[in-house]
């Protein structure tokens, strides 16, 4: 009985210490990378405010409204954390490509309220992509990689979702040919080392082997930046990636 009590007390202490450590990291705004744990960090933008994208609705205004407003740059006020940035690691071509877990779980893109949800998605090679229509109007989901069609399907109201495995890595552009203001982006990685920032700008990638890598951060409006990241054999290092305050020349 006493042995069980001791074990319970040790468990409580361990959880309390882990919680304290997490709070310390979160409150300081620093992310950590460790050879033992996942690679975490925050993407930050503290430049001038960027206006929402506004487009006229030329069809189905009864349901979609007269104008479409898309917030492409979402910043957390306190930290400058940038949401919906895609963070990925470029592995050397010589390295063996690790397998991805959870590739059987479908990646769902829904046509909802005349917008794609989510608008920015990440997935892995081999993962099934499902497109569906939750609106009471016709949508036409057209997904391309460069000039090559991945899928172009009509989705009638109440119709069946369409599913197809994604076999090629890279960027995919998602549009609705019925409603041109509807756009989304999908990144398919050949490995597990890809993440997307949450509303606080935080991301998390699986554990990497110690070494130096190139990290790529992409944002729909702010563009693409690259950073060199060193994974130490042990210990933690703060990782914050900040977008330049000036717009990048290749950004939208």
């Amino acid at each position: 009985m006493a042995h069980r009590f001791d074990r319970h007390r040790r468990l409580l202490w361990t959880r309390a210490l882990a919680g304290l450590l997490w709070l310390t990291c979160a409150s300081s705004g620093e992310a950590g990378e460790s050879a033992e744990g996942p690679l975490t960090g925050r993407v930050v933008y503290q430049g001038p405010a960027i206006p929402d994208r506004i487009a006229d609705v030329t069809r189905d205004a009864d349901h979609c409204g007269k104008t479409s407003i898309t917030k492409t740059v979402s910043i957390q006020q306190q930290t400058g954390g940038l949401a919906n940035a895609v963070v990925s690691i470029e592995l050397p071509s010589s390295s063996a490509m690790p397998t991805t877990a959870g590739t059987a779980v479908p990646l769902v893109i829904s046509n909802s309220r005349c917008s794609f949800a989510p608008r920015i998605s990440i997935g892995h090679v081999g993962q099934p992509l499902e497109v569906r229509n939750d609106d009471p109007i016709l949508h036409n989901t057209h997904i391309t990689a460069d000039r090559r069609t991945f899928i172009n399907v009509a989705l009638v109201p109440g119709g069946r979702p369409v599913r197809k495995p994604v076999t090629q890595p890279g960027w995919y552009s998602v549009v609705c040919d019925a409603h041109k203001f509807m756009t989304a982006h999908l990144f398919i990685a050949p490995h597990p080392y890809v993440g997307i920032t949450d509303q606080a700008g935080m991301f998390q990638l699986p554990r990497l082997e110690p070494g130096t890598y190139t990290m790529t951060v992409w944002h729909e409006t702010l563009g693409t930046i690259h950073r060199s990241v060193t994974i130490p054999t042990q210990g933690a290092t703060p990782l914050v990636v900040e977008y330049p305050k000036e717009r990048l020349s290749h950004a939208d």
């Binding site: 030329t58 036409n140 069609t149 899928i151 172009n152 009509a154 369409v162 019925a178």
Partner: protein, 259 residues
């Protein structure tokens, strides 16, 4: 006044008719390498004018077909193919390429029916060699339901209902004349971002993927990749009769009998 593309089609057809009798092109090619070489020689004589020496759709005559609007000659090296029996996003089957070569594309590409079957198959092999994805991927035709004998009493009314409820008038217009608001207002683009008009369904000659009932059925199911025309296959699962009713309705728009 005749369109420049008509002169090109006439020129290519005459050129082929003159050249196909040469021993090199009529020889039966059984070895894959010989078949490929025969296809390459034919391609250089017949196709590169529009599709370019490397098959990238950048041949000199292509500019006369459509300089600033769709369709431009197909880029065989990496672009999608419109006319297929395979699902949206997949490359066409060998039979699809053979069918397009044999029939041509009304108003755009001549029929190569004048070539022997062997010669046409050698061209199929050469076209496939221009894109390594043909060798890397499987290309399985969709299972399309067999064509019924003909429309039933209620087919046209049901087809018209589906035409409207599936949003076809937005591009093809309420009477199918290709004058829907999306088309007229210039909202439609192909994969090269060139403006494209919706097909006039009341003119059989404008149906580029064929004007027979099963051709229309195939176009509805597969969609035309590289254009805004989507695949409706998943929306017609277990509703094959509805899909055929839509086909009968579309055919009725031209007022011509099915061929």
């Amino acid at each position: 006044m005749r369109r420049p593309s008509q002169f090109i089609i006439l020129f290519v057809t005459l050129w082929l008719a003159a050249g196909e009798g040469t021993p090199a092109s009529t020889a039966m090619a059984t070895e894959p390498s010989l078949l490929l070489e025969q296809g390459r020689q034919l391609y250089q004589r017949a196709c590169l004018w529009c599709h370019g020496t490397g098959g990238q759709g950048d041949g000199p005559a292509g500019w006369n077909i459509a300089r600033f609007s769709s369709p431009r000659p197909r880029d065989f090296t990496g672009e999608s193919f419109k006319f297929r029996s395979t699902p949206s996003g997949d490359l066409p089957s060998d039979e699809d390429l053979f069918r397009t070569l044999t029939r041509g594309i009304p108003g755009v590409m001549p029929s190569f029916r004048a070539l022997s079957e062997d010669a046409r198959w050698s061209l199929v092999e050469y076209i496939k060699s221009l894109n390594p994805d043909f060798a890397r991927t499987t290309r399985t035709p969709m299972k399309l339901s067999p064509q019924p004998i003909g429309p039933s009493e209620h087919s046209l009314a049901n087809g018209r209902r589906i035409f409207r409820s599936f949003g076809c008038p937005a591009c093809h217009g309420s009477q199918g004349q290709g004058d829907g608001p999306e088309s007229v207002q210039g909202h439609l683009y192909d994969s090269r971002q060139l403006p494209i008009r919706a097909t006039d369904l009341t003119a059989r000659s404008s149906l580029k993927n064929g004007a027979r009932a099963r051709d229309l059925y195939r176009s509805i199911m597969t969609g035309l990749d590289g254009t805004p025309m989507p695949s409706y296959a998943d929306q017609f699962v277990d509703r094959e009769a509805d899909a055929w009713d839509l086909v009968w309705y579309l055919l009725s728009l031209s007022g011509e009998p099915e061929q």
